[in-house]
Symmetry: C2
Subunit: 421 residues, 2 copies
């Protein structure tokens, strides 16, 4: 990613100078091993392994941080800002942990801290949210912001692959790590969701505040059933502000109606859907990862910060109030539930009665053939429900009661359904 | 639209002041009839019919122009900029005719001229193009930027309506004017395309430079055939820059492959697809019209310009070189062609020979039943071709030669195909 930026600056520098009046020059680059051959348009003398000296050097006007992680990035960025150097960062882990305090520090130091690349790589999202929509009452942001999981779910949907097969292919293509936990369990999307929530809602949200559920338990059968019912399964990051000022930020798989623009986001592409009170529905779509898209986003920020530096101004995110989080159990959603039951008379009435007792209303029900999962010869059926919008606590209580019923063999799938009444 | 902005400022003013430190106040409003009852949160004393006095008044720091058209808007904006007042405009006709000169005037006067709402209403597009992507080599921009025609094409596709029926419904809903020419013949999209091309490519492009073809000759049969072949018919605005520095800007209907993100843009929604050398494919989606979305975009610009005014800075688009336009006949595209021919032996060989003689290669061909359009009892067939990418001049020469053949009764449809090799 740092290499892509160096190449872009070399290729585009003349054109950028002509359009903006600012000439960019890479004067120092801190790397782990300065001696390694890099095949980059850089004089060897600019390379050093002393990052601390770079961020405050006299011939450095602006610092780009693409180290990743919290340490030493937090210390380096803090030192740069305090020395009056604008910083462009692509570091989602750091900003998801320390974003609000760093944004306030940058503002106090009178310099820019820009981070377009940290959320959705090359997709312009941070700047539209912080500038174009600064006057807008943003009600909800829903993102597909992890390309690895979107690739896996797309392959499961379009090729009929199982989860393990799709994950193996994602690993072979380099989309997924050998240990895929950060992607498939929603940690990566959670960090990005925290940053989106912070800037969209204006309160400090950290990755640790984000509820997350991953995709590793999604079955080929869930995907097939969703498709038959007119939905696509997607891993969504959702940041929402309620009328009482409380917020909720979460990552979980959900069934997205075919007609929703997010349903058409395939392969490793990302998209962020924004619901505003005045502007209505917006969506920003593009490549959410990759050296060149990320380099492009960093370069846009570098030019912006450089122009501001020349003008003696900087962008401000303002201050961030503390967030009041609405507990996940108090959120409401429609749900898709798949339950394996014994195929006996009266079972459906019992199950429907449990829904009713917890105030959960059923919108549709299908009864499907079911394998005899216990292998005891007792005939079973698979019931697939879509509920109307219900409190999550009520749905969980319903499922708990199901698990205690003799006629219910297992609760196999519990998935939220986007935008269904 | 002006009313929506006044309401938004009244509703959101406190929050905007808290986030940006800038308090917005509507001090003067020029209207045709100040006496008319408006039901807006405005003191009657701020209303006047003397627009010229408003744009340079002492208690006006910033001017919002939502008059539309060239006269008197051009004179008012020029006066405001020369008096050092930043201007926010939603006026696509004006900017499509005089954009480059006004952007340069604003820069010389040291104030902002912002116009997010002029292109795609509430969709953040101008700011991402001029700021986020300023360092990007933008190769092509493809937009669905007229909601009326997209609504008509969506209804023809999804409900099987004819063009006249869909247009009548669009008129009944207020999406289309009594005289729908500006929308359905591509003039409205052409103005927006000129502005997009100007900022994306950095050369002066006016509406008069835009080649445009409308949708009024699209038949229900074209739509049905497109659907069967895996395409959606859309009215596209395309701005493209070639390696030799020449540009082409055009509006025409085209067949968009189902898997392309633009194919999923339905009803009156708009979307703009950007192809960049480093960032790859991006798309911006949302409501392209309506008082509140447009008001939201204007408000975002007002806040931006007000913050800049307080800081004593302004955004600059730089200067615009003259554009060299590549003639439409020199552009290349895949084409969909429908031809009615006499159903005689050897006709297909003759037709194929004409394609070959002009260097146009056929990717696929279908032979369909055809009504006897001449009513002379002579059996006819409908041939539907999709070509490989070919020069437009060669395709037109092919069609001209068809029209001279005895076996060809009519050339019924000529449509470009997006992204097909």
């Amino acid at each position: 990613m740092g290499g892509s930026l160096v190449r872009l600056i070399a290729e585009r520098g003349e054109d950028i100078a002509a359009r903006t009046g600012v000439r960019l020059e890479v004067t120092r680059v801190a790397v782990r091993d300065p001696a390694r051959d890099r095949d980059l348009p850089l004089e060897p003398s600019v390379l050093t392994d002393d990052a601390a000296s770079v961020v405050t050097a006299d011939d450095v006007d602006l610092v780009v941080e693409v180290v990743g992680g919290t340490d030493p990035a937090l210390g380096l960025i803090t030192a740069a800002l305090q020395a009056g150097r604008p910083v462009v960062s692509a570091n989602k882990e750091l900003l998801a942990a320390h974003g609000a305090e760093l944004f306030e520090l940058a503002d106090r130091c009178g310099v820019d801290l820009l981070f377009e690349a940290a959320v959705a790589s090359g997709i312009p999202l941070v700047r539209p949210l912080r500038e174009s929509l600064v006057g807008e009452d943003v009600l909800r942001v829903i993102g597909i912001i992890n390309g690895t999981t979107n690739y896996i779910l797309t392959k499961m949907t379009e090729e009929g692959w199982g989860y393990d097969e799709a994950l193996a292919e994602a690993q072979a293509l380099g989309y997924a790590e050998a240990d895929p936990t950060a992607d498939v369990e929603g940690f990566d999307a959670g960090s990005k969701a925290a940053i989106i929530a912070t800037i969209a809602v204006g309160v400090g949200v950290a990755a640790a505040d984000v509820h997350h559920e991953g995709i590793s338990r999604i079955s080929a059968e869930d995907i097939a059933t969703a498709g038959r019912l007119g939905y696509q399964l997607k891993l969504l990051a959702v940041a929402e502000r309620f009328d009482d000022g409380s917020v909720a930020v979460r990552v979980h798989p959900a069934m997205v109606p075919d007609a929703h623009p997010l349903a058409a986001v395939r392969d490793s592409f990302n998209a962020v859907f924004v619901e505003g009170a005045a502007v209505g529905d917006l969506m920003f779509y593009g490549r959410g990862a990759g050296g060149m898209p990320t380099g492009s986003a960093v370069l846009g920020d570098v030019i912006d910060a450089a122009v501001n530096l020349v003008k003696g101004t900087h962008a401000s995110l303002g201050s961030f109030g503390p967030a009041t989080f609405r507990p996940q159990s108090e959120l409401s959603s429609a749900f898709y539930l798949a339950v394996e039951v014994l195929d006996r008379p009266g079972v459906l009435a019992n199950v429907a009665g449990v829904f009713g007792a917890h105030g959960v209303s059923i919108r549709s029900m299908e009864q499907l053939e079911s394998p005899d999962s216990a292998g005891d010869g007792e005939p079973t059926a698979r019931l697939v429900f879509i509920t109307h919008v219900a409190r999550e606590a009520d749905v969980l209580a319903t499922l708990d009661e199901f698990r205690g019923l003799d006629e219910v063999r297992s609760v196999d799938s519990v998935l939220r359904v986007l935008g269904a009444g």
